[in-house]
Amino acid sequence: MTEFPLSPAFILLLGAVLLPFLPGRWRNLFFTVLGAGLLTMVLFLPTATPPPILRVMQYRLIPLQVDGLSRGFGVVFGFVLAAGGIYAYHLRDRGQQCAALLYAAGALGVVFAGDYYSLFFFWELMAISSTVLIWARRDRRSFKAGFRYIIYHALGGGILLAGILSHIHAQAGDILITNLPARNLSGWLILLGVAVNSAIPPLHTWLVDAYPRATITGAIFLNAFTTKTAVYVLIRLFAGWELLIVAGTVMALYGVIYTVITNDIRGILSYHIVSQVGYMVAAVGIGTPLALNGAAAHALANILFKGLLFMAAGAIMAATGESRLTRLGGLFRRLPRVTVFYMIGALSIAGFPLFNGFISKSMILTAATRSHFPAVFLLLNLAAVGTFLSLGLKLPYFAFFHRARPGDLPVREIPRNLHPAMVLMGLACFLQGVFPRLLYFLLPHPVEFHPYTLHHLTEVSQMFGLTFVAFWLFRGMLRAKEYIVLDVDWFFRKPALGARRILVDGTLRLFDLSDRLVMALTRGLISFSQNPMRHVFKTTESDRPYDPDRYRPTVSMLLFGVLLVFLILIAAGPR
């Protein structure tokens, strides 16, 4: 096997190297075409042949191993890269474009990795390049959030590497990913490292902290890659680990209840990532082929509809420069098309019939029912109620429909390329909902699933219909307030403020104090040595500057001295 493994990740790495040398608009074209080309390439990657091997030092790496699961993720990654390229077509920012390409290279590298070392390499590439998409916003809060983000991922990556190394050691040096982690320390370490990227509470704060602070275009890639590759790794390595059922269900509810009270629109979307990834994590824990199909389907559908929601939220921000619900309102008249695209995303994520979220959620819920987890089934349905409540009703009501006073909010023209990108994503959500085969062919296991049953449709329409009634009754209470919401990151951010006060401010104050002490001492010494005689003859010398002539010995003193010596010599001389 001498053939070079031409992984999509390597193509993107090469693309990221070439991109900075292209002039202005060509970079955007290059980016988008690269995404579309990649999508096509991944679609036609052969699955059956044994994977080519890349020799690096004494290791035999497998950077390109294709099966149904990895191809599904690869296809959707390529799609979102192309759509994101169109969405960012107006942007002239080499740094962000390069970072996005590297980030996509990392995501595709993880998905197609056939060994643990390749997986880890691309995993870390994602962490570093994605941070740039947060910092590229170029304000103080983004900078700080980006720092917390990279620290979190450095720790998570370290734990992952520790787990991988001890796993490989226990397996006598076998680095193949088909070698699943066992339920021992190394397995749990790998799971912990992946749990950071899956944003399983309490390890989720990097997401809800940093994503709302990312650039408008960066958020689309952030949503698509980090958590979804983590779900991919969970499906690959941890299918059937029961703890994940509990973690996922808790996550789905934890995320959704925060969305009810969050003010920032991209903050709401970020908490919804936590909530939706909860469905996937729970499905991985259930571990049956239907559940794993559901987890993959929901991850892929999520990249599309959540990407669409982030695009619509970005359009609102581009138009108004504002992302807080308290400052928005009445945007339907100004941005009617954005409203329509937003609603497609919102109905998809809530799981409305005719949209892809309905298919993927039904798969997970059916899997829970078939494996006899009634509590999981009910609680995930409750999360769906919350999703519809906050994204389908609260956010659009207060952003688009409520308080429709024209002239309230200055609304700028948004770049024209935002619309075709949203059309692409919305169309994908709709087509997958109407023709589920478009989703099924991307899944790891063969699918025989019929979501559109009468029973299921009555269930959903009753549930959402009455959620609407509850919303209408309490809509006054749901009005956003201009506050931030604390999360478990309080437990390190607040002590960090205290630690900063002691370690940084305290040290600075100590330096300041010693500086002032030394300066005072020096000043004293200077004034003392300017005229030491002043301290001897206090009354006569008060403020006079030093005059050496005043203290020169006189002739009489000299004679007196000579006389004194003479007398001593006589007195002490021999008798």
């Binding site: 009270i261 029973h455 269930e459 329409s461 009753q462 959620t467 509850a470 931030i484 919401v485 403020l497």
Partner: protein, 71 residues
């Protein structure tokens, strides 16, 4: 226009209730709760109320802070 929308909104759950009672209960009735009549009507309404009140009255009371809290 507005009245049409409201009517459609009311008709969909109403129609689904009718369908539920006309249709046969089979296959999916795995659990005790699916035997309760109008279960999903109750679930949607009570679930919605629970999340709104739980979020806005309890969670918000604990976690709301001024925007410059961490600065």
């Amino acid at each position: 226009m507005r009245r049409v929308l409201w009517t459609v909104l009311a008709l969909i759950p109403a129609a689904s209730v009718v369908v539920e009672f006309l249709g046969s209960h089979h296959a999916h009735s795995h659990y005790w709760f699916s035997e309760i009549p109008l279960f999903w009507i109750l679930f949607g309404f009570l679930g919605g109320c629970l999340l709104i009140l739980g979020g806005k009255k309890i969670l918000a009371w604990i976690v709301y802070r001024r925007e410059d809290y961490y600065d």
